[in-house]
């Protein structure tokens, strides 16, 4: 059992990246419009986040420095500040969306309007971030979030034409009434979701929270090689069930309430209940991840003490930032903005945040000052360099594609 908990951090990090509120709808939407023809993007994204999460996790284990600490050291205060603002854009907007997402999940179960749940959810979330121990937090939401495996079970139960699904996977191009621009927009969106900057902020800071040292590099790699592929599989299974149920019926997914329908069809009420539990845990887990990451980024940029491993009194500014972020998030959500739409705007910020986050990691993972002999091997460097080029291309393409497709229409 201990071993299972040892990978909770990796699972929670991956859940916050692959199946947070924005991705639940995006994966379902992609399945309902493109089937599995975008599956290859998820695979590429999983490998990318594995490469860089492993590097940032190794840096955290060997040198005790979390990712945002490095960003400013390597890029200097000016570019570092630009990345702080850009990545805060992504992290904070996603944080707002997650709180709304938890409220949406409750709305589906209770059919009471989401806005009414927002203050309750935010209060509960903040109490968790303030008092609940980091290990308990990651185990509870990381492992319960695995309830989303019910989508894979539903896919198997629907007994689809597997050959047809495989044909979709192996034909990476838009279907009949889809354009290459919207196909590329969702390719960028899925890749961006897989490699969202706050995943490495949270994963590396989580490593410091768990007092990783050089002897924990093995555990760190277990987290990486187990957690992220699992995240990828969850997002693919969501796309697959909607491809099977919605694509032929001409239904395009627009809201969270449509996402669990295929599970209800396949597994009935039990399946639906498990799916809703999965929604709740995944979005709540992602809310913790992004909420803490807001604090981690600010504190590590300015050099404040941070983290839950010290008493709140010893990381006063860190906790004040998290509290402020929660209050502002509630205020924004009370304007009844659609939480899912909020994540679409964060794509714009991730265009800048992606390269400025991953370049310092790649550089520092090769610096003996930080890593001693644990510097990157040739394989990590080769993959890291290739992916850095992909990241730059994606970040350049993100905003134009968003404008061209008016947010993916």
């Amino acid at each position: 059992m201990k071993k299972l908990f040892a990978v909770a951090l990796g699972i929670l990090t991956a859940i916050g990246g692959f199946v947070d509120i924005g991705d639940l709808v995006t994966n379902a939407l992609v399945g309902s419009r493109f089937g599995l023809s975008l599956a290859w993007v998820v695979a590429v994204g999983v490998i990318g986040i594995i490469v860089f999460a492993e590097m940032s996790g190794r840096v955290a284990a060997v040198s005790g420095r979390a990712t945002f600490d490095l960003v400013r050291e390597r890029l200097g205060p000016r570019i570092g500040l630009a990345n702080l603002l850009a990545s805060m854009g992504v992290t904070f907007l996603t944080f707002i969306a997650e709180i709304g997402g938890v409220a949406l999940a409750i709305e589906i179960a209770t059919s009471v309007d989401e806005v009414l749940w927002v203050p309750v959810v935010a209060a509960a979330l903040w109490i968790v971030l303030w008092r609940v121990r980091f290990a308990v937090l990651e185990n509870a939401f990381g492992l319960v979030g695995l309830a989303l495996v019910v989508f894979a079970v539903a896919l198997w139960k629907l007994d689809p034409d597997w050959m047809d699904l495989w044909a979709q996977v192996t034909s990476p191009r838009p279907g009949a009434n889809e354009t290459w621009t919207s196909y590329s927009y969702y390719a960028v969106a899925l890749f961006g979701a897989a490699m969202t900057p706050y995943e490495v902020f949270f994963f590396s800071s989580g490593g410091v929270e768990e007092h990783w040292s050089e002897k924990d590099v093995g555990t760190m790699r277990l987290n990486v090689f187990l957690g992220f592929p699992l995240g990828g599989l969850l997002s693919l299974s969501i796309a697959a069930v909607t491809a099977v149920v919605f694509l032929p019926a001409g239904v395009q997914v627009e809201s969270l309430s449509q996402v669990p329908l295929p599970v209800a069809i396949a597994l009935g009420k039990i399946g639906l209940a498990i799916a809703l539990l999965g929604f709740f845990a995944a979005t709540f887990g992602a809310a913790c991840e992004t909420g803490l990451s807001v604090g981690y980024s600010m504190a590590q940029f300015y050099g404040w003490s941070w983290g839950k491993f010290v008493a709140p009194r010893q990381a006063a500014r860190f906790h004040a930032v998290v509290l402020l972020a929660t209050v502002v998030a509630v205020a924004v959500l009370l304007t009844t903005v659609d939480p899912v739409a909020v994540t679409e705007y964060s794509v714009v910020f991730s265009a800048l945040a992606l390269p400025l986050t991953y370049l310092p990691i790649l550089v520092i993972a090769n610096d003996p000052d930080y890593m001693g002999e644990r510097v990157n091997g040739w394989f990590a460097n080769a993959l890291g360099s290739v992916y850095f080029v992909v990241i730059v291309v994606v970040s350049v393409a993100a905003i134009p594609l968003m404008v061209l497709t008016r947010g993916g229409q």
């Binding site: 059919s111 001409g250 809201s255 669990p260 329908l261 009420k269 209940a273 809703l276």
Partner: protein, 134 residues
């Protein structure tokens, strides 16, 4: 001169207006089919009443906003027939979806069965819309 120099917008160009009608009806079909699936699933007792209510209500809201946007467009000269048929289809869709929402919220199985027939009918008409639109 005005029409000639008018820029190509659905409100100016009849064929663009018809394309807009087709894409609106396709979005409407997506909402209506969602309601059909929810009704079927609820009637087979494979989903909770509240979840069904939430899904149908969300689809109803999305349908009415889709319809509202289209109805707000100024039809170019000569496109009135297209507009008349499209808005008729849209209002039928809204009526049947509203009936479905009422039935689901009351958990009235008979009304749900009736609504399912109506919803399936409208869905079929929406599916054929691109061909039957003038």
């Amino acid at each position: 001169m005005l029409t000639v120099s008018g820029c190509a917008t659905p409100e100016g160009d009849p064929s663009l207006y018809r394309d807009e009608a087709v894409s609106t009806l396709s979005a409407a079909e997506s909402s209506v089919v969602t309601v059909r699936i929810v009704l079927t699933t609820r009637l087979r007792d494979r989903t909770f009443g509240r979840a069904a209510d939430d899904a149908v209500t969300t689809a109803e809201t999305s349908l009415s906003s889709t319809a509202g946007t289209f109805e707000g467009l100024q039809p170019p000269r000569g496109a009135d027939a297209v507009r008349q048929q499209a808005t008729q289809l849209l209002s039928d869709a809204e009526d049947t979806v509203a009936a479905a929402r009422i039935a689901v919220r009351r958990d009235d199985r008979a009304a749900m069965r009736q609504a399912l027939v109506a919803v399936a009918g409208v869905a079929a008409r929406l599916d054929r819309a691109p061909e039957i639109l003038p």
